[in-house]
């Protein structure tokens, strides 16, 4: 058997160990299920994306107007809509937070 074949065999052993590592490190874990986002977490993630999008649009509009890229008329035509969007996104997040706190308090009471 050539040294190259032996090296090939060593490579096979090494990768088998690497692939088996999660099972070797945790032969009997408490839980083997994957992280799954619940409906509430997904809703919050979407709301945070919406909030960031609205605030970023508002910041960009302000910067563009300040730099003279956007005329006063165009600025006035859009800024109100963006402020409403941002306020709505923040309110949606607040509602979600309030709902979560309510659920947590309810869970704590029942416990």
């Amino acid at each position: 058997m050539s040294v190259w074949l032996l090296l090939g065999a060593a490579l096979v052993v090494a990768v088998v160990v690497v692939v088996a590592l999660p099972f070797l490190r945790e032969p009997a874990p408490e839980s083997d299920s994957l992280l799954e986002l619940g409906a509430a977490e997904r809703e919050r993630l979407a709301a945070e994306e919406e909030r960031d999008r609205a605030l970023s649009a508002l910041r960009e509009l302000e910067a563009d107007h300040r730099a003279g890229r956007i005329s006063d008329d165009d600025y006035r035509g859009v800024v109100g809509v963006l402020r409403r969007d941002a306020a709505e996104a923040l309110r949606a997040l607040d509602r979600l937070d309030a709902g979560r706190e309510g659920t947590s308090a309810g869970s704590a009471k029942s416990a």
């Binding site: 050539s2 190259w4 074949l5 090296l7 090939g8 065999a9 490579l11 096979v12 090494a14 990768v15 690497v18 692939v19 088996a20 590592l21 999660p22 099972f23 490190r25 945790e26 874990p29 839980s31 083997d32 299920s33 994957l34 992280l35 799954e36 986002l37 977490e41 997904r42 919050r44 993630l45 979407a46 945070e48 994306e49 919406e50 960031d52 999008r53 970023s56 649009a57 960009e60 509009l61 910067a63 563009d64 300040r66 730099a67 003279g68 890229r69 956007i70 005329s71 008329d73 165009d74 600025y75 035509g77 859009v78 809509v81 963006l82």
Partner: protein
């Protein structure tokens, strides 16, 4: 040694298959350890592929001609740098390079996204594993670089046109681009499989997409420079099918990079974005298929091979899979946001997208036409340069103009009056330049004149952008000009990096217009002492020299160059005769004027036994702006790519619930 190479490739195939099957099962059944195991298999597949690549490099460096691939693409006399680049000089090595880059990208992308997009990575792993299976299978079962033969005394050598410094790096950059598009594709498909249509797949792949797009762009420019210097026909882009094959995914990726901004800013175009990213990846596969299958006649198709049907099958599977995923997830991809006005930034980005995709599909139709016509009529009809040039003007010139308009239009809606005020100065400056150019005689080419006028408009808007931004920042902070400028760019890297990239495209447009619309050419057979004139230059054929290079005999015709009354030195053009390869290559002479960007380009078409030489001489105005555009393009991309700590913190906070709050065990 071949045994180790073969074993390593077999291991890669096994690991990729495991990542596909076990990764898919883990994602579907929700098994955490199995998912980690599949991800480890993907990481390990890079190392096993690296072992195979090292074995092949060692084969070339040690002149191990018992490897059929080494014997077919190298020789003892070949300089070391070309022995190494011979790795990707043929089909088997190119496929191995594809697999090596793919597994490297896969390992890095999956590793870096393991926290922020943990639930996505679970689905991305089998997609990347599936792509790797396709290439590993080709290398193991169809086209192995480790087939052995009875070692000949010397190898067959390397195609002389590949013995050029650009060929050492051009294919690597091209493959970094082609293969890099697999990452955004895999994350997009992973997001669809996982039913996660939020922005995380975009955030996770933003930099990978820019890296792939940049390297693909740089790879094409390096290839153009190689063609310019080495192929010896006086041009840099010939609409060759394989050149088109690299351009098409780049155009699709350019459209994606713009449309993805609309999704980030307005939450729109989700279906369009996953379609574009799939199109870009499928076109990159198509590009590899064209290069390696031998279905089209091209200067780049160095081999005719049997991988065509396999590759075509792989492309069909990818197209069907991505189309099915998009179709199945249409309900989740739909959004409520709508285009509010046809005069808005998102609308201009949409026009930009439509033009880019139209140009891309037009090129695809022209490239595929020989195959289609052969299948339908039994005769391959090649589409010529006029077809491509026509559509480049039709779609390219409006694209150039939109580059100047788009970034300065407000999101959602803008008034025509406001636009006129914002664009008054750049438009006035561009029109004045256009009139001046007509006075200078540039009106001989209408497309060239339009390209120059639009280019001036875009450059003026970009310059004005930097001035306005810096002035506004100074007014707000009281900083000095340099500090204000630096911080302006540092805090808006994507925006200002984008402007620098736009400036590079303008340089490219000026270089292409100048060198193609306003070039001069003259040809003639000269005896010693004879002269010819072109574009203000006078060239006098002085002598013919011959010397032995490392692996070729180098014959050069030396010419004295004058312009007006100035002696500009000598220029040598000729042929290299490669003894091992039994081939002759053209070696052109180029004199670049870095001040004007102009090249004097000499081809010694035919060296006759009586000492006369048939020359073809070009004067190419502004051609060096094309290469300068490459440097500016890289600078802009690096600015856009550079990590922004504030942005990273914001994203870390936003995505904390996905990765950190519900703790999962260690990542090994």
């Amino acid at each position: 040694m071949a045994e180790l190479g073969r074993a390593a490739l077999l291991v890669t195939l096994g690991l990729s298959l495991y990542a596909l099957v076990a990764g898919g099962a883990a994602a579907a059944l929700g098994r955490r350890r199995l998912a980690l195991s599949a991800r480890n298999a993907l990481l390990a597949s890079f190392f096993s592929t690296l072992v195979a690549a090292c074995v092949l490099v060692a084969g070339f460096v040690r002149d191990d001609f018992s490897l059929a691939y080494v014997a077919g693409h190298s020789s003892r006399a070949l300089p070391l740098q070309y022995k190494i680049s011979a790795f990707w000089g043929g089909q088997e090595g190119s496929l191995l390079l594809w697999l090596l880059v793919l597994t490297a990208y896969s390992a890095l992308a999956v590793w870096f996204a393991r926290r922020r997009a943990r639930d996505l990575v679970v689905w991305v792993t089998p997609v990347l594993g599936g792509i790797a299976v396709g290439f590993a299978w080709l290398l193991v079962a169809v086209s192995s670089p480790f087939d052995t033969i009875a070692a000949p005394a010397d190898g067959a050598g390397l195609n002389p046109s590949l013995q050029n410094p650009y060929m050492v790096i051009h294919p690597v950059f091209l493959y970094l681009g082609y293969v890099g598009l697999a990452v955004p594709f895999a994350f997009a498909m992973g997001a669809l499989l996982a039913r996660r249509t939020d922005e995380r797949w975009i955030v996770a792949t933003r930099r990978w997409t820019i890296v792939a797009w940049t390297t693909l762009g740089v790879g094409q420019l390096l290839g153009a420079h190689w063609a310019y210097q080495e192929v010896g026909w006086g041009g840099y882009y010939a609409w060759d099918p394989v050149e088109n094959a690299a351009l098409m995914p780049w155009l699709a990726a350019t459209a994606f990079l713009h449309s993805v901004m609309i999704q980030e800013k307005r939450g729109m175009l989700r279906v369009w974005n996953v379609t574009l990213v799939s199109l870009a990846f499928c076109l990159s596969l198509f590009g590899t298929f064209l290069t390696r299958s031998g279905v089209v006649s091209s200067i780049h198709s160095f081999t005719q091979s049997s991988i065509g049907p396999w590759f075509l099958g792989f492309i069909v599977i990818t197209v069907v899979f991505s189309a099915a995923m998009i179709w199945l997830r249409l309900p989740q991809l739909r959004t409520t946001a709508r285009l509010e006005s046809l005069v808005s930034r998102e609308a201009t980005f949409l026009y930009n997208n439509l033009l880019l995709v139209a140009l891309c599909l037009t090129i695809l139709w022209g490239t595929a036409w020989p195959m289609v016509s052969e299948a339908v009529r039994g005769e391959a009809v090649v589409v010529g340069r006029p077809y491509y040039d026509f559509f480049l003007r039709i779609f390219g010139l409006p694209l150039l103009l939109l580059m100047g308009i788009g970034p300065l239009v407000a999101w959602r809606r803008a008034s025509l009056g406001g636009l006129l005020r914002v664009f008054a100065w750049p438009a006035g400056f561009a029109l004045a330049t256009g009139v001046l150019l007509i006075g200078l005689g540039a009106g001989s080419s209408i497309p060239g004149l339009i390209a120059y006028t639009f280019s001036v408009f875009v450059l003026a808007t970009i310059a004005l952008e930097f001035v306005r931004g810096t002035t506004a920042r100074r007014a707000l902070t009281g900083e000095g000009v340099a500090t204000s400028f630096g911080r302006l760019v540092a805090r808006n890297r994507r925006r200002y990096g984008g402007y620098v990239v736009h400036a590079s495209v303008v340089l490219l447009a000026i270089g292409i217009a100048g060198s193609s619309a306003y070039d001069s050419v003259v040809e003639g057979r000269l005896a010693r002492g004879d002269s010819l004139g072109v574009g203000g230059y006078t060239l006098t054929y002085r002598e013919l020299t011959e010397r032995d290079g490392p692996n070729a005999t180098e014959i050069r015709a030396v010419l004295d160059v004058r312009r007006g009354g100035d002696e500009l030195g000598t220029l040598a053009a000729g042929k290299n005769a490669y003894s091992v390869e039994q081939q002759v290559s053209n070696e052109v002479g180029i004199r670049s004027d870095l001040l004007t960007g102009e090249d004097l380009f000499v081809i010694a078409e035919q060296v006759n036994e009586d000492g006369t030489v048939f020359f073809r001489v070009f004067v190419k105005p502004l051609v060096n702006l094309i290469w300068l555009a490459g440097l500016v393009f890289v600078l802009g991309s690096v600015i856009a790519l550079w990590p922004d700590a504030r942005e990273e913190r914001r994203l870390a906070t936003r995505y904390a619930p996905v990765g950190e709050t519900r703790d999962t065990p260690a990542t090994t």
